[in-house]
Assembly symmetry: C2
């Protein structure tokens, strides 16, 4: 069945379009899989340099895009001007609830909302392919400090 490891997914994605597996891509994939919940390209680049400082910034950007296109990663937009990345393959879908005070964020799962989204899209004749839901608010800790 369709349960493939991230490595296999990437390999297949590359092979299908005549692209190559390189040491850089291997290294970046491994580091990507170890990353915490989400991170910016710049943050990832910093991490990468600690492991192999011969890998260039452009490669990091290009590879994160590759991961996204191959379904391994997904991009997030927290509204601060930079793209964030997060592991997608093998993880359950979720949205984000972000504290506007401390910038902390938590992952939320809300199947009821997902279902309603499908319904609303269908109502307008659209076939839903993706969605992004960001909830902004004040977290319990920050509310306590008011």
């Amino acid at each position: 069945m369709g349960t493939q490891s991230p490595e296999e997914v990437l390999q297949e994605y590359l092979r299908e379009r005549g692209m190559l597996m390189t040491p850089q891509r291997k290294t970046l994939l491994q580091l990507f899989l170890e990353e915490p919940k989400h991170f910016s390209a710049e943050e990832f680049y910093e991490r990468v340099k600690q492991v192999d400082d011969s890998i260039g910034q452009a490669t990091v950007y290009r590879t994160l895009k590759l991961f996204t296109e191959s379904g391994l990663a997904e991009t997030l937009d927290f509204g601060d001007g930079r793209t964030r990345y997060e592991r997608r393959l093998g993880r359950e879908h979720h949205d984000h609830l972000i504290c506007i005070r401390c910038r902390d964020s938590i992952e939320i799962r809300a199947p009821e909302i997902e279902r309603l989204q499908e319904e609303v899209a269908g109502r307008h004749g659209y076939e839903l392919t993706d969605h992004a839901l960001y909830l902004y608010g004040i977290c319990p800790k920050c509310r306590g400090k008011e």
Copy 2:
């Protein structure tokens, strides 16, 4: 009661913080209110130049931010790297359904989803202040061309 025109809202916002009403701000407000559903700062700047080409780009950016802070405008993020603006005051809240093929978008209203968002946030102890929901899909026209 609290039904104020955009002009009044801006005036009050400015007065409260010792800011001034200027000819530029008047012109930009008028043009902003005439704009179609949503637009980028650059698009707005192009429009502004047609009316008064002495108004600088920096003023346009600064003023759009002012409109946003004063509640007249809200920002949208369609994921293409630039901020879009849209009239907020006096308009009903809505989200966006965007076609990934032709980039066309429509406004959607889904009170059920809004309510569930409140509930989910509350479940995590958050006080919801804002949210952004973008649905991406393929519109009826583009589906017909498949």
